[in-house]
């Protein structure tokens, strides 16, 4: 049945779509029906019965028409017993009473039953003050108990390092169990026993070996599950709560920070706001601690002589500006480069490149510090469909077919993974995971297809996919010459050759292409595995062609999503932190469009594209680039080649670093500006849906720190630029005036959740011919880098919990490979790459393919870039067993 239904709730008639639940209809009618077990992301269960209401339908006569009462209204035949509103869908003409004596009595009865065994220990329960049971007991419950038996009791348990379980308080709503199963895909919790003895715990009653996301805690309506890191820290009424955006990955979840005094005490999901609502991954929920760290820098450091000495902001600004001016005067502006910025807000990123381009006159600006090959700043923009309306998380969960290209979403984009798992469980989404390792989503329990391509065979796989899609016919509207050329160049990639290079049966590739093409609602996801690849340019072009061929890119909409490495990777690119793009992806070479910026910024801008990050790395190591400004990036760790980065920092005449901590990179700097954390500044960040979201100032900045934007403005003014932004909003207003795609966006509309930006700059469908040759494979083990769930970047290392959860760093080998190398689990190996060696203990796992070694790059101890810059098609290394017991991770 479809179409709207008329329902009357407490005498108010409203129209809701058929299939709406009674509780939801009541909410729309402005009537509050209490709930415990029902949750909008979970299917109805009806476990707790608190939502009981009286429901009636019009009485039908023998002629199937409503019987009219004496008052001329249809007679209602009431169901003999109260019904649960959260499991009943509305029907035409339905009548619902939520406050009738019968409904109230039933609800009171349910409340009494729920409290029969409840310990009522609110004073010592962390949920107290924001507990739904407490609120409802207050609203509906009795103030005495008729229960005089002893209450049933369980022992409390620590289910691992984050979940504390106090089963006495559990009302067996099963939200935690269902959430963990259907949305986390972890299935880590279960209900033991039956009836009053039902107890939630892990299956084996051992500590949970799960994602440690704490979402079970979040959805528990009572205090049965509470967070150990927040245990007894504060009461909800002590906290100032601020909704801001998570500082970790590109999903841009909204987090609600709880602040007491000058400390962030917890982070939670939001109930009804943000892309994620209640969801947070372990990093978002427990990774805020770096804000409170005592190790944060609190004064600028300047290297006047040999050592970095604490200084004042004014001195540091003057020093930085005068050195920049000197270097520009002697060696030209092209000897200055600006790096990093994926963690800046949009406004800060805008000022950063404006400083480089307008105040100094250099186009050497790049936020993509990890990319090992030079790629145009527009490549990702074009691969994701230019300014077309982007794919959102709501689209993702409702998609029929999703193809994930080379990305381990668990490590890089946990919320995207949760959306996919939910779609798979609840909405018939089908997953195709192309990844050399059997990552979580490739697990058979998600019933997807795993394209286990050989390590470093991304190019062959994408060409195979493109070819198979092309064989299905091409959609209308693609350029004929491009299509012809692509067809010609793809001829070199015969099915046999693709099969041989990828190790995946061509039939599977063809089936994946077929599914993607046939699906009406689809999504194509890619991320660092393709962009931080030595052949990134070819891969991004191939993604673009595949997307056009399969219909993932259409004239109006894009179903391609780029999952960047940081919370504002997208915003940094949007704001022109790329050597060949001005903000809004305006090419620097486009004289016409550049003029708009020149007029607004009051001066000529360099018209030749600058160097990309990896080119800057190389020329700085050679001494051609003499000054580096590195922002929110521990470059020594993130640059593709550690040795080159060290050389570059050693040779540079001026290194300026903005950071919260004295990182390895900051130690090598001449000026270090201490900056405010994400919780201390206001600004806009852009997530992978290209959604603009405003962060708020939950805390006043730590004494001695400043926002990056303030520092850029101070230096620009010291360099003689006439900048006079009084607030972040001023900067955003300028952006909204100048930058295509951001034009006309109002700062005031960005809370709670902005919209994804779209622009007129859509570009025509583009099909680039592919290279016929494959890169020679090289000798040795293929190194598979990859993120892990528990750590992301240097900020996560500054928390107490995350490194503990991540456990000791391990390189992972297939058992067969380990046999070949004669290493056992826990023993250490030395990996030798083109640039150097690292040593690390191994663990064995058959989910990693033979012929490769998986080295997670997120651990502080693993300095993967010591192995050197990868060359096409990927990094290879020689592995040896190390016999002597030495410190793990030492180079």
């Amino acid at each position: 049945m479809s179409g709207p239904c008329k329902v009357t709730i407490n005498g108010r008639t409203i129209e809701v779509p058929a299939g709406t639940l009674v509780t939801e209809a009541a909410r729309r009618a402005g009537v509050h029906v209490p709930i415990f077990c029902s949750h909008d992301k979970l299917p109805p269960l009806g476990a707790c019965r608190i939502c009981v209401v009286e429901i009636g339908m019009p009485k039908l006569g023998p002629d199937r028409l409503p019987v009219m009462g004496t008052d001329g209204k249809p007679e209602i035949s009431w169901m003999p017993k109260p019904q649960t509103g959260c499991t009943t869908t509305v029907a035409e003409g339905m009548h619902v009473l939520t406050e009738s004596p019968g409904a109230v009595k039933a609800r009171k009865g349910v409340m009494e039953f729920l409290l029969v065994n409840h310990p009522l220990d609110c004073p010592v329960c962390d949920e107290g003050g924001e507990c739904q049971l407490q609120d409802l007991a207050f609203a509906f419950g009795h103030d005495f108990s008729r229960m005089d038996e002893a209450k049933r009791t369980f022992d409390s348990e620590d289910l691992g390092p984050v979940v504390k379980k106090e089963a006495n308080r559990c009302i067996v709503c099963m939200r935690c169990v269902r959430y963990c199963d259907e949305i986390m895909g972890d299935d880590a919790l279960t209900a033991h026993q039956r009836g009053v003895w039902t107890e939630i715990s892990s299956f084996n009653r051992q500590p949970l070996e799960c994602e440690q996301c704490g979402n079970c805690i979040e959805v528990c309506p009572v205090g049965a599950l509470t967070a150990l890191p927040y245990r007894f820290k504060a009461r909800p009424w002590d906290l100032r709560q601020h909704v801001t955006v998570c500082p970790y990955c590109s999903n841009g979840c909204s987090v609600r920070l709880g602040v007491r005094g000058a400390e962030v005490l917890r982070a939670r999901g939001t109930e009804a706001r943000g892309v994620n609502r209640e969801y947070l991954c372990v990093r978002g929920r427990f990774g805020y601690e770096f804000v409170n760290s005592a190790e944060r820098l609190s004064a600028p450091l300047v290297r006047l002589a040999a050592a970095l000495e604490p200084s004042t902001h004014d001195e540091a600004v003057t020093f930085a500006a005068s050195r920049l001016r000197e270097i520009a005067a002697v060696h030209g502006a092209a000897s200055i480069a600006f790096l990093g910025g994926e963690k800046l807000t949009v406004e800060e990123a805008y000022l950063f490149q404006k400083l480089a381009r307008a105040a100094l006159g250099t186009n050497h600006v790049d936020s993509r510090t990890r990319w090992p090959a030079p790629v145009s700043g527009r490549a990702v923009f074009e691969a994701t469909g230019g300014g077309r309306a982007p794919l959102t998380f709501d689209d993702l969960v409702a998609a029929q077919e999703v193809l994930v290209l080379g990305e381990d979403l668990q490590g890089e984009a946990p919320f995207a993974q949760a959306q996919l798992i939910r779609g798979q469980h609840q909405k018939g989404l089908h997953l195709t995971i192309a990844h050399p390792r059997r990552v979580k989503l490739a697990d058979t329990k998600f019933r997807g297809e795993w394209l286990a391509y050989r390590p470093h065979a991304e190019v062959a796989l994408l060409h195979g996919l493109a070819r198979a899609t092309l064989d299905l016919g091409s959609p209308a509207g693609l350029p004929a010459d491009g299509l012809a050329e692509l067809t010609r160049s793809l001829a070199a990639w015969s099915p046999e050759r693709v099969e041989q290079e990828t190790g995946v049966a061509f039939d599977s590739i063809a089936a994946a292409a077929q599914r993607l093409k046939a699906a009406e609602r689809k999504a194509l996801l890619f991320g660092r595995a393709l962009t931080e690849h030595p052949q990134a340019a070819a891969l991004l072009a191939a993604v673009e062609s595949l997307a056009w061929l399969s219909g993932a890119l259409g004239p109006e909409r894009s179903a391609v999503m780029y999952l960047g490495p940081q919370n504002d990777t997208q915003g940094a690119l949007d704001m022109g932190l790329a050597p060949d793009c001005l903000p809004g992806y305006v090419p620097v070479t486009d004289t016409e469009r550049r003029r708009g910026f020149e007029q607004a910024w009051g001066g000529p801008l360099p018209g030749a594209p600058g160097k990309t990050a990896v080119e800057i790395l190389e020329s700085a190591a050679k001494g051609e680039i003499r000054a580096l400004w590195i922002v929110s990036d521990n470059w020594i760790r993130s640059a593709p080649d550690r040795r080159l980065a060290e050389e570059a920092l050693g040779r540079a005449e001026l290194v300026i670093v903005n950071d919260m901590f004295l990182t390895e990179t900051a130690r090598k700097a001449h000026v270090v500006f201490p900056v405010a954390s994400f919780a201390e500044k206001e600004g806009v960040v852009v997530n992978c849906e290209r959604r603009l979201q405003k962060t708020v100032r939950a805390l006043t900045p730590r004494k001695g720190t400043r926002g990056d934007g303030e520092i850029f403005q101070a230096v620009a003014r010291a360099l003689g630029a006439r900048w006079s932004y009084r607030s972040t909003e001023d900067v955003f207003r300028e952006i909204a005036r100048l930058v295509p795609g951001y034009r006309g966006i109002s700062w005031a509309n960005l809370l709670p959740l902005g919209t994804p930006w779209v622009s007129e700059d859509r570009g025509q469908p583009r099909l680039a011919p592919v290279t016929p040759e494959a890169a020679p494979a090289g000798e040795g083990l293929a190194v598979l880098g990859g993120g892990i769930l528990f750590l992301q970047g240097s900020l996560s290392h500054r928390t107490a919990l995350l490194p503990k959860l991540a456990k000791a760093p391990r390189a992972v080998l297939h058992p067969e490979e380990a046999k070949r190398l004669a290493v056992a689990d826990g023993e250490r190996i030395e990996l030798e790459g083109p640039g150097g060696t690292i040593r690390v203990a191994v663990s064995l796992d058959a989910r990693v393919p033979e012929g490769s070694v998986f080295v997670p790059y997120a651990h502080a101890e693993i300095e993967l870039n010591r192995l050197g810059k990868p060359s096409a098609p990927g990094l290879k290394c020689q592995a040896r067993r190390v016999s002597s017991p030495e410190r793990i991770g030492a180079g």
Binding site: P123, V124, G128, F232, K233, R235, W237, D238
Partner: protein, 148 residues
């Protein structure tokens, strides 16, 4: 006229020989009425453990926002209170306190009472922030609950 004079003098004389009302404070101390509300105490159970569990209900009930509580988890070997939670810090700012007794009323554990002590002057403002060790009764008063 003399009659009136005598009457007035009579009152004077009568009062002259009456036991005086005036208390020679501070040499002498008055005993307070049973429901007098002065400085708070934090009480102990019979076994000497603190009654306060650090629930902060007193703090949220306090209309003057005078109470600060920071809870922590008990060390099971050496618990400070019954159960898992206790108040690691408990502070009352007596410059803010208006002696309304709401904290006492809010406390689910009978842990806080306004007792008879009212001599709360000092030269330093900091001294008016009464900390837990100043408020908590000694172990010899374990089990003591003021009668109201």
């Amino acid at each position: 006229m003399f009659k009136e004079l005598g009457k007035g003098l009579g009152v004077t004389l009568e009062n002259l020989f009456r036991k005086p009302f005036t208390v020679q404070y501070p040499e002498e101390q008055l005993s307070m009425f049973p429901r007098f509300r002065g400085l708070h105490i934090l009480t102990r159970h019979e076994d000497g453990l603190e009654r306060c569990v650090g629930c902060e209900l007193c703090a949220v009930a306090c209309p003057a926002d005078a109470i600060f509580v920071e809870a922590a988890e008990n060390d099971p070997q050496q618990p400070a209170s019954h159960g898992e939670r206790y108040a690691r810090r408990y502070e009352i700012n007596m410059l803010r306190c208006i002696f309304c007794g709401m904290c006492e009323e809010a406390c689910p554990e009978d842990a806080i009472f306004l007792e008879k002590k009212f001599e709360l002057s000092d030269y330093r403002r900091e001294a008016f922030i009464y900390t837990k060790d100043e408020l908590l009764v000694g172990p010899e008063k374990s089990g003591y609950l003021p009668q109201r």
